[in-house]
Assembly symmetry: none
Homo-oligomer: 260 residues x 2
DNA sequence: TTCAGCTGTGAAAATCCTGTGAACGCAGGG
DNA sequence: CCCTGCGTTCACAGGATTTTCACAGCTGAA
């Protein structure tokens, strides 16, 4: 459903020219990227929660094969693409059999590298499917993508599909002010007609449901002439004397100046 | 996990030398293979239940791109590998963006082609992990994969093949809301055409059979605008001689081990 | 303070979605 | 060859959801 899910990529390569050119494009495409000029322990790669890893065998040195093997074994969900200089058929076959997803020879065009990374990620995601990220918790809300629904405690907000998608978008971009056009574009999937008030109407519906289910919080803030911003806020004093089992971390999101 | 799981491959190529050499190897590897010297309708590819498709753009002629696009759209689970003569970066990028999984230039070594086909097919297996678990028991139902049938006590639901597959899918993903497209994709094996109501019809059939066999339970829940969710529910009091005066709705989703 | 332009609101209207029954075509068995 | 079981497709009815509209209340700049 997320058509253009952003890709989290790490690049292990010391060819600064190649990396620079590539980075420019990945950045333009909105990918999240980390460049490393030498190998790092697989554990650290795990922590980065990557979709894909692009690496040059040359920078790995003698331990290249070992390293590849460990990566592929430890991170079976990570797309691994080797992009390196001349190689023999035997080397490529060895790599691919080891678990590498694609092997590209340098020199190569950055656009093709990206297309191949996308292809690998696409496939990864499809098989992985529903695992996704756990439920998103904001304020008193719990947004569960696998249920297409939001909850407060045990109670469901009873959101319709559109309502849920709108809430999800807002919550995903918590803290940002989104223009109506942008909201419409991303939830409805096509451009908003001039004068369309759908976004406003759905914001009202959401507010209603949020108000009845979570009365002590305010979630959706209006920015006059622009659009809306999602930020869970409550003026309730954090319970200090509550049962010690719940530390009750109240997220007040105080980094954004209160406007409106 | 086992990389040498048998692969079902179709090859669309008229280069007899290439095909012969490749076939010899795939046969030795125990793959199931079908060679076609020209394009065939996507529908027939569906019926072959392939893991991977290897094709040469040259034999497709003018409709190559169209054909590729249709294939990739209809069969998102099929690994598509293009193996063709000279090509430009733009062509390769176009293909990969269209949904092709890998693009190999001829001439190439058959061993590498196989390794790439394996790499592409690898993921699919992981999700398809046919864990040979015992019969699945949900609510009053007992779903036996080895019989392609479900039972309540001794009585069979008398499910047809599709009905059973649908029930199995739903029960396997108990608690999750599945979109119609996803259900169709996983039960029928290819992409759902717009406006297709098959899923609804089979849900109705399932509900009928479930209702007659297990009247006190509700299993399949509709999520408007999205799809269906499987969750066995009953308001019957599970205890032996329940007090009939108090129906008392009991939430019985007992995935929590009984603690006494 | 005033005014034009925005936004909130409630409800009607239009649209879309699902449940349902039935017809159709196909294939295998009798 | 006909019959039967199965999967697919169609049309319709009843609801649920989304869109549209008119109006009231607000906002911010002059």
């Amino acid at each position: 459903m997320n058509p253009q899910q952003t890709i989290r990529l790490a690049v292990i390569d010391d060819d600064s020219g190649f990396v620079t050119v590539l980075s420019k494009r990945t950045e333009a495409a909105g990918w999240q990227q980390r460049v490393l000029s030498s190998a790092i322990p697989p554990q650290e790669l795990v922590a980065m929660k990557l979709n894909a890893l692009l690496l040059d065998m040359a920078v790995l040195g003698d331990e290249a094969w070992d390293y590849l093997e460990r990566i592929c074994e430890m991170l079976p969900d990570l797309g691994v693409i080797v992009c390196t200089g001349r190689s023999t058929v035997a080397q490529r076959v060895r790599g691919l059999r080891l678990g590498v997803d694609d092997w590209i020879g340098k020199p190569c065009h950055p656009e093709e590298v990206m297309a191949r990374i996308e292809a690998v990620s696409r496939r990864r995601r499809r098989s992985r499917a529903e695992v996704e990220t756990g439920p998103l918790v904001v304020g008193e809300l719990e947004i569960r993508a696998d249920q297409f629904q939001a909850f407060v405690g045990e109670g469901s907000l009873d959101l319709t599909r559109r309502e849920f998608e709108l809430l999800q978008l807002l919550a995903d971009t918590k803290g940002q002010v989104l223009e109506r056009e942008a909201i419409y574009q991303r939830v409805w999937g096509y451009a908003m007609a001039h004068g369309d008030r759908s976004v406003d109407v759905f914001v009202r519906k959401l507010r209603q449901k949020l108000e009845t289910t979570s009365p002590r919080w305010r979630y959706i803030h209006t920015h006059f002439g622009i659009g809306y911003r999602f930020d869970p806020e409550t003026d309730e004093i954090p319970v200090l004397d509550a049962d010690p089992e719940r530390p009750e971390p109240v997220d007040q999101n105080a980094d954004i100046p209160a406007s409106v």
